[in-house]
Structure formats: structure tokens, C-alpha cells
């Protein structure tokens, strides 16, 4: 089976093309990894800042 999925289960976003990479000095990072790490940091910050529901007994 080829790297590109076929038929009804085709991926909506095909990530199989040439990778996008960013360079900064000695640092080389893929766009994909950068997105993952960026989202993690955003989620961490949001988790710290977003108000937690008061007085809620159950989630």
C-alpha cells in the first residue's frame, strides 16, 4: 500500500509531501514539531490562566 491513503479513509490533510523545516543558527526544527511544541506551551499557559469553575462538585 502506498504512503498516500486511498479511498474512503483518505486523510483530510496529506502530510506526506516534503517536510517544511525552519532554521535558526544551530537549531533546525520541522514545522510539525514546532506546532506540537507550540501548542503544548499554549495549552500549559491556558491551563494555568483559565479560571477553574468555583463551587462545582462534579466535572
Amino acid at each position: 500500500m502506498s504512503a498516500v491513503a486511498q479511498g474512503a479513509l483518505a486523510a483530510a490533510v496529506d502530510l506526506n509531501g516534503p517536510g517544511h523545516y525552519l532554521n535558526w543558527g544551530v537549531i533546525q526544527i520541522s514545522a510539525a514539531n514546532l506546532v506540537i511544541i507550540g501548542v503544548m506551551i499554549v495549552v500549559f499557559v491556558l491551563a494555568l490562566l483559565l479560571p477553574f469553575p468555583k463551587g462545582r462538585g462534579r466535572r
Binding site: M1, A5, L9, I36, M40, F44
Partner: protein
């Protein structure tokens, strides 16, 4: 009422008779009830200060771990080459990959939170240690998983990583080019290792309770004062806490 006092209210049966039966089984039962009282294992209250979204990342990590295990189990049903020739198999491979990405992401965010809470305080060093070792074990599990893919990526990772492992002698017995060995480490040994650590980690969180907040001002007499660098060792703190918690 302290956690310990509340736990003491729980008896293995409804009568007030102390459990003094003889034998190994009874000894194990008494030990388990004493160390892991049901009321603290499955509490229906939580400390008031647990009021931040950062606290959900532990259970999110656990949930992701279960999705990883489940999707891995489905991949195991038809073996390691199924996903290359089946759309459904490929989907479950994708599910396994993305649940692993979520697992690692949630675990690291959980780690960031626990670090900034200094969550190892109050006899919780082992909770930190089991979590840290589980993290390292997860990295090893992921590594062997990538080797088990049986595609170009696996080939490259195998021939590259062999150099790191050979350099320190490990490669003599643990070879990333040995597919059978890597697969068995990935689906048997490492998940068991990580799984056991996760169970211990969670039991310890339940047993000790969620770490209380750092006091805003350092007072030597105040409970929970963080050790000033260079003063008291953790062992000293542990020993002291040990004597203080005698009923």
C-alpha cells in the same frame, strides 16, 4: 479530619472486631487495607486547593495511555505487517501514533505542572521518581515502537541508533536491527514496565493525597516549608515525617 483518621474509620467488614486472623493471606489483607484504604483509593472529595486546570493532565495522560494500549492491541491482532496493506489497519496505526503524541504531550505538561508545584514535597519523592522513570520508560517504548513499523523510518532509526547503543556496550545485547527482539520489548517488556510504574505512581498519589500548596512565605515553623538549599536533606525530612505520623 486527616486523611489517616478518615482512613481508620474504614473496616474490611462491618463488625468492629480487629482483623487478627493468622496466615499469609490475612497478613497481606491487613497490609493492603492499612496501606491502601478504599476510602483514600477512591475518594469522593478532593482538597479545596485543587482548583486549576493544570490538575487534569495526570488523568489525561492516563487516558491517553489506555488509548495507546488499546490501539496497540488492535494492531497486535493481525500482526506487525497488517497496517501496510489494510486501510483499517492503517487507521489503527494512525490512532496508535496520535494517541502516543497526545500521551507524551499530556505527560510533559503534567510534568511541567508538577515541577512548578514542587510536588515531591511531603514524602512524595517516590511519586516523582516513579513518574520520572515512567517518562524515560515511555521514551524507550516509543523508540522500539518506531523500530517495529517495518518501513523506511524503521530502517534508518535502526542503523543510526545502533551506534549510540554500541558505543556503550548495550548494543551487544540489545540490537535495534533485530526486529523480533525490538517488537517483543515494545509490546511486552516495556509496556509492562511503564504500566507497573503508572500503577505505583497513581497508588502513591492516592495514598499521600495531592500535594498542598507551597506556603507563600517561608517560615521554619510553618508546615511544608521548602528546604532552603543546603540545610536539611530530604532523608532528614522523611525521617522526621515518619516519626510524626505515628498514630
Amino acid at each position: 479530619m486527616s486523611v489517616r483518621e478518615r482512613a481508620d474509620l474504614v473496616q474490611p467488614d462491618e463488625s468492629a472486631e480487629p482483623d487478627e486472623a493468622a496466615g499469609w493471606t490475612a497478613a497481606v489483607r491487613r497490609r493492603l487495607v492499612r496501606e491502601l484504604p478504599p476510602d483514600t483509593m477512591l475518594p469522593d472529595t478532593q482538597p479545596r486547593y485543587v482548583a486549576s486546570w493544570i490538575y487534569v493532565f495526570g488523568v489525561l495522560t492516563l487516558a491517553a495511555f489506555l488509548v495507546v494500549l488499546g490501539s496497540g492491541a488492535v494492531l497486535a491482532i493481525q500482526g506487525p505487517s497488517w497496517w501496510h496493506t489494510s486501510d483499517i489497519g492503517h487507521f489503527f496505526n494512525s490512532l496508535h501514533l496520535w494517541s502516543v503524541e497526545l500521551f507524551m504531550a499530556f505527560m510533559v505538561i503534567h510534568l511541567w505542572g508538577k515541577f512548578f508545584m514542587a510536588a515531591w514535597r511531603g514524602r512524595r519523592a517516590l511519586t516523582w521518581i516513579t513518574g520520572a522513570v515512567a517518562f524515560l520508560g515511555s521514551i524507550g517504548t516509543a523508540f522500539t515502537g518506531y523500530l517495529a513499523q517495518q518501513n523506511l523510518d524503521s530502517q534508518w532509526i535502526a542503523v543510526q541508533s545502533k551506534d549510540a547503543l554500541n558505543a556503550v556496550g548495550i548494543g551487544a545485547y540489545f540490537s535495534p536491527m533485530n526486529f523480533g527482539q525490538m517488537l517483543m520489548w515494545h509490546i511486552v517488556l516495556l509496556p509492562a514496565f511503564v504500566g507497573i510504574l503508572v500503577v505505583l505512581h497513581i497508588l502513591m498519589v492516592r495514598r499521600r493525597g495531592v500535594v498542598p500548596p507551597l506556603p507563600l512565605r517561608d517560615r521554619p515553623a510553618q508546615a511544608g516549608a521548602e528546604a532552603e538549599p543546603g540545610t536539611v536533606s530530604e532523608a532528614g525530612q522523611e525521617a522526621e515525617a515518619e516519626t510524626e505520623e505515628q498514630p
